[in-house]
Symmetry: C2
Subunit: 537 residues, 2 copies
């Protein structure tokens, strides 16, 4: 009894003492400044994980020996889709899209049931590229024409991390903004065709001087002007997609479509270039890393809207079908080139669906909310990994993964973990163990989600706390059990008793660490510098 | 152009002319009086289906030759669970129960993504037993103590259909009411231990004369009696579970527990008898048919309520875990007895979860509503079929199936289709083709769902019409697209234009057929006749 009391007392003391600067037993790989909560996890599990890492490194070394080089890495990231909308038929039969190649990917690879992203495009893409929550670089919302802001040059991307040892290519939707320092080819990619904004900016068709009736969304003259006395409010033009090569200046405007046909042609040309990139480097002694982040949702294609012929006939469904066909082509190409076994393909959405425009992308399935919400509907996405040399077909993993973890995981697999900067907070966690050893080998049990500049929610294990929801439940704090209540509709009364303070401690350490490592201000300035406009758009 | 007009005109005429008494080309198997909508389906597809049936019969004959007898049939039917709560991890990881044996069943057998039931226990169980919507025998709601009503003796159950050629056994929850003519052993089962009401009636503990404080739900004396002047409102006692053998009278009270321990003991004894039944008939020249409809939800077990130790720690979760363990035992027994290959096991829930008592059984997942609702949340359930000799592992089928179809399908597989009565409407459809040939070989594209005595909703293909919902959408008619909107939250504006009248035609034919074949009145009278009470309860 006394022993039990002592041990309980020690536990309480241990919990109270668990401040950021914990004495760590095993050295954190790469000496990274991890987010405070992971430092706690490492303090408790680091010895075991360090040991496991040795075993995994031996496996990676054996693979490198077998294939003569490190694995190729392909990251496919698309827009606005809920968990379950593509993949296994037990989900998609209820409500989903016809995407046979993603279904095959689920069958032949790994499906993740708890892949978290940020709640909108720019933040998720920045987190994937930098391994850091987007709030840390000021990239807190989707950048639109003409925001005059972009990814700070001081951010270190995964392309910069693997540079020298990997051929790096980036195609289609970056959405890192319109600042030169943030252009993809200035952020480490050897070769890039990338959009500054999202795909809708490619469907505004503002550049067509001859046909002033063009745009799906915008025309400087297409409005009633009865009470009009500010011409400067409406931009006359903007730039959409740029082509650049690392170290070569200036970059060139690749496409700013003036018609839907030009938009489609631009996408077709980018797709050809994507495949060329794979072909070009397949036989190289250096592996390649490809970010193919395709433009989804061809909203300008009125003819694709709501035919009554197919199961999910919407413009979105048609776009997804086209993307899925390309994914099929890509896998066929890897097979044809004999590199499928040693290529990791990660495919996922960047955030939840745009529920307000149902049925276009708005089906929220298990979860409540969608894009821009910090409920699960906004941040929990379909995600699959195929890596035939390592991952068993039909693998399912229920571990929590955050999109920023890809940064660390790719760095690890590329053998470049030591290139991750140690002068800033890294939110990403190396999840190689999860890929190699499967279910229950993840290393994250929490996710911070920002909504714009403010912390919106915090997941810890099966619990979730919201900071800006309003269900009328508790005074300023709402707690949910995600296993029992994935729609976050039933605030917990029993569990808030002990979770409230625990969540406050985690957030307190998070904020304390931000004081020590302040956010980088977003890049701001004249847009489109360093890009030559196309003479013939 | 003229030809096209003529052909369009003919189509319209064909649609208008499609009344119930259509001239059928191929003869409907068994000469059944199918529900009017199926008669239309048969008129259009009967030739093809009759041909397919010959191929399937050849396959069934070959199986019979190989195994020396027709397949054994086991139907497992439990309470109140939403689609996705058990089975594949891509569903259960989001929100579900730990049920490894049902997960294995999904992996090794067939999962159905559109298995429909009636919206509550008694109706679903009656539909499964009789192949008819429960409204046709007046069994329109869950029968409770002491309703003095039950299944009419004139109903012909699946046990009566397969009698003589099959050993038939029934164990645990029947819920067919308290009328002698409806007792399970009077409805064709050779051997039966069956509850008259549901499992909660077994946890009322009203029979304990010595401890008047017993009940979880009911005690005749346990209330404030300040304004009390009607003693007869509160029953002093009731009967729960009865044991009977076909042709042997009287039956015997099997158990009416007076404590939670007795309730558990009764369930344990019934489980032993279930296994004995399988053992006893495994080596027989005659196959067996077993209805094991286990009692789920041990709500009296206060100690199981909400511990913080497991993923879904609720009394429900603990009950499901125990049931799943029994399913594992059952499969092990079939293996041990060498009869697994030639045994069909169908496992499913009887309706959606009781959402108002979240988190006990209330997780609605993809769908809106639960038990007693005619939204998908009430009537679309997890369902699996294992039949190793026929069904490939990991099969998924998206065809619509209704619980009443099991009646016809079992009759067909048992070679007793000619024993189905032809003097009444049969709602069930033979779905043997779906089991044998898999996805896209179902034969139903519609489901009528009653809420009590009134038609509540009608599913046709991906569309659904409600008759008693109130979303403020349209004047008396609400239409949904279940593929795009499985939660039935966004009433359709475009499609109601052409679906409204079509739905009316289907309902009109349905009602017209009811006039021709009126419902059978429910059995009513003194309860518990023909049962000897146990001396020592």
């Amino acid at each position: 009894m006394l022993l039990r009391f002592v041990s309980t007392a020690l536990c309480i003391v241990a919990a109270l003492a668990a401040l950021p600067a914990l004495a760590q037993k095993a050295h954190v790989p790469g000496g990274l400044v991890h987010e405070a909560e992971f430092q706690r996890l490492w303090a408790a599990n680091g010895d075991r994980w360090a040991e496991e890492d040795e075993e995994i490194q031996a496996k990676l070394d054996a693979l490198e020996k077998r294939f003569g080089k490190k694995p190729n890495i392909i990251h496919i990231l698309w827009d606005d889709m809920r968990y379950g909308a593509v993949g296994h038929r037990l989900l998609t039969d209820v409500s989903g899209y016809e995407a046979p190649n993603l279904q095959r990917m689920a069958e032949e690879g790994m499906s993740l049931t708890r892949m978290y992203t940020e709640p909108s495009c720019t933040p998720t893409r920045v987190a994937a590229a930098t391994g850091r929550l987007a709030v840390r670089s000021g990239m807190i919302f989707p950048i639109f024409p003409i925001h005059r802001m972009g990814l700070p040059g001081s951010e270190v991307t995964i392309a910069e991390v693997v540079d020298d040892t990997y051929h790096t290519g980036f195609f289609e939707k970056a959405h890192f903004g319109d600042q030169e320092e943030g252009y993809v080819h200035n952020q480490g990619w050897d070769e890039a065709i990338f959009s500054l904004y999202n795909q809708f900016a490619g469907q505004g068709f503002n550049g067509d001087a001859e046909n002033q009736g063009y745009s799906i969304a915008y025309s400087p003259d297409g409005y009633d002007k009865k009470y009009f006395f500010d011409d400067s409010f409406r931009p006359l033009d903007w730039m959409w997609t740029v082509e650049g090569f690392e170290g070569e200046a200036p970059a060139k405007e690749f496409s700013t479509p003036t018609t839907f046909e030009e938009y489609q042609q631009a996408n077709a040309r980018m797709w050809e270039r994507t495949k060329q990139f794979v072909r070009k480097h397949a036989g190289s002694t250096k592996p390649f890393m490809l970010q193919w982040w395709p433009n989804l949702y061809e909203v300008a294609d009125e003819s694709a809207m709501r035919p009554w012929t197919t199961q999910h006939a919407t413009a979105s469904a048609e776009s997804i079908k086209r993307m899925d066909a390309k994914i099929g082509e890509l896998f066929a190409l890897l097979e044809e080139l004999g590199i499928a076994e040693n290529t990791i393909v990660v495919a996922m959405a960047d955030n939840g669906p745009m529920v307000p425009i149902w049925p276009e992308t708005g089906q929220n399935g298990f979860f409540r909310g969608g894009k821009n919400d910090v409920t699960e509907g906004g941040i929990r996405v379909p995600a699959f990994v195929k890596w035939p040399a390592v991952i068993e077909p039909g693998t399912v993993v229920g571990d929590i993964v955050h999109v920023s973890d890809l940064f660390n995981t790719f760095a690890r697999i590329a053998g470049r973990y030591d290139q991750i900067p140690t002068d800033r907070v890294i939110d990403g966690i190396d999840q190689t163990a999860l890929l190699v050893k499967g279910d229950k080998h993840g290393r994250r049990d929490y996710v911070f989600t920002y909504k714009g500049p403010a912390l919106g929610s915090l997941v810890k294990q099966q619990f979730k706390r919201h900071f800006a929801l309003s269900t009328g439940a508790l005074a300023g704090a709402e707690f949910f059990d995600l296993y029992k209540d994935p729609r976050e509709e039933n605030p917990l009364m029993a569990e808030f008793l002990w979770t409230w303070a625990q969540f406050d401690h985690i957030v307190g350490r998070h904020r304390q660490q931000i004081e020590e490592y302040p956010h980088t201000p977003v890049a701001r300035g004249v847009p489109y510098t360093g890009v030559e406009r196309r003479a013939d758009p």
